[in-house]
Subunit: 366 residues, 2 copies
Amino acid sequence: MLEQKSVATRTRGPVRIVGAGLLGASLGLALREKGVEVILDDASPSNLRLAVDYGAGRLPVEGDAPALVIVCVPPDVVADAVERALLDYPDAVVTDVASVKLAPLRALEARGTDLTRYIGSHPMAGRERGGAISARADLFFGRPWVICRDEETRREDLALIEAVALDVGGVLIEMTPEEHDASVGLVSHLPQLVSSLLAAGLSDAPDAAIQLAGQGLRDTTRLASSAPELWLQILAANSGPVVEALEGMIARLSAVTDALRDPDAPGARRAVADAMAAGNSGVARIPGKHGQSQRFATIVVMVDDTPGQLGRLLTELGEINVNMEDLRLEHSPGAQIGLAEIAVLPEVKQRTIEDLGARGWRIASV
Amino acid sequence: MLEQKSVATRTRGPVRIVGAGLLGASLGLALREKGVEVILDDASPSNLRLAVDYGAGRLPVEGDAPALVIVCVPPDVVADAVERALLDYPDAVVTDVASVKLAPLRALEARGTDLTRYIGSHPMAGRERGGAISARADLFFGRPWVICRDEETRREDLALIEAVALDVGGVLIEMTPEEHDASVGLVSHLPQLVSSLLAAGLSDAPDAAIQLAGQGLRDTTRLASSAPELWLQILAANSGPVVEALEGMIARLSAVTDALRDPDAPGARRAVADAMAAGNSGVARIPGKHGQSQRFATIVVMVDDTPGQLGRLLTELGEINVNMEDLRLEHSPGAQIGLAEIAVLPEVKQRTIEDLGARGWRIASV
């Protein structure tokens, strides 16, 4: 199904993957695609079977001698699985992909395990749905892959993990476990909780309020559909940094709440405006989509919400020789119509509007 | 530029629009498109000139006799503008489109103004960018338009405002001012503040943390780029409901923070899991995109981040006769590649994968 990249495979196999959930199975798919021998294992025979059927690797056999073991199990059992792998494969390098890095390390240290061959890592990849069934070979593509080496790490051991990260398309980032945990507390764990708890406030809201919901609320609460079970383990294992991030958030919310209790008091409006301006600065620092679309001009086209309409629009864009750089769809509540916001190079904007208009599309330029 | 709809225009003009910003100019464009005579006014001559040039209406002249005046000015000056309109046009019905409904009403009542001809309303439409320059005729299309009538409201006066709301594509919703303000506090004003204050926490975060940002953080903080000035007026004018919504949010955050301070204490993990489960329930209630895409199957295609690649993909989808139902693009940080997540009817999924694969596209089915 997947075209081979021309770049040579860096990873030296076989690679043993312990835990055939979303991350383990995705990693298996991605490495298999590069021709790497992948051995899968999972405490659940049915999970394992599914991942093998899916093409993520083969079943383990007596005498397997992996060069690298990648532990892809939930945070609570990472230390157990890493210790087991270090014992079972005395010549292998062992890593894990857990979303927290300090708690498993401390747990391993407390057992007195020799950790020379262990290097913690964390690919910043995931989906709202879990399990091998949701696995995809491109899950790690273009995503940061954090590696937490220390002064005992051997250069050749590190290279094994870097090879896997690069082969699956990851972007290497080095951090200490402490730096990692504080960072994900701020950019991943806090947003998850904020989104969940914002959405929690809607669970008993009047229907009248819900029907006024728009795209802003949808975006802000999208993460709230994540499964609680796994997140509970992540949050508990990173409770220190998460509590610190939460306290900062509560302090900022409380300051604005106090100001809004008496908006006409001296300094009150200034406090709210400053907090929102800090939000402007914060969001401007996030790399990715936000900045990119400013290179382009935007055209909004109305499309009926019937099969084929959007496809026809895109086909006609091809016919009039316009390259679409980005597309955002907005479905309208209560109406069988959607708005397609199309980004194009500024120099073709006017022509696109004219050509689409001539073909009968309803267009509003912005 | 815009195709006329075949539906007959309901609105009886002329309509006078006071305030030629984003909402006023968009309303003017939408009504002009329906053939309605629109008179524009604005305290700023240059704003007014821009909106007239833009095609949103004509300049006022001596002897204008509007059937309806729509006040589209910032919340702080709504009461002034409504009172002025009621005095200047004793035969006209007057409405406003402010994001808060109780504060302007109370301010008008305090002046002793006869409010029989005034009916407050609020189209739930907006953009992160403001001003006539950002106006678009489709701004109100498919969006809720809240009307706050009372027992004194005459049926024929109400009909004038309903006609405008329907003509510009809005979905009529009736509420009391109290209901409206509490509802927008919960589904609009709270998410705005939460997003802003989450992003504010990034304004002085280490670069290392920021580079781990993913799509979840981007979605959660998108609203944080809104301009503080207008929001300050909205929040101050709706401070009661907003403070109540903020207090609920702070209480939920505090409960989770307390639980995570000692995640191994009895009941602590349960408290976090329950809060996240409430988030699952809350987000499931929001209408719109969330549920819609479940009708479709999804295919993810890798596209180089160069002009033309995405356009070529969409053109080729047309060539192989596949109608795309939805599209989501994800740009990868640090990589010149993007992922195009394409929704198609389940029955064409397999064929699409095969045909695109045969044309050399890198595909991962999900």
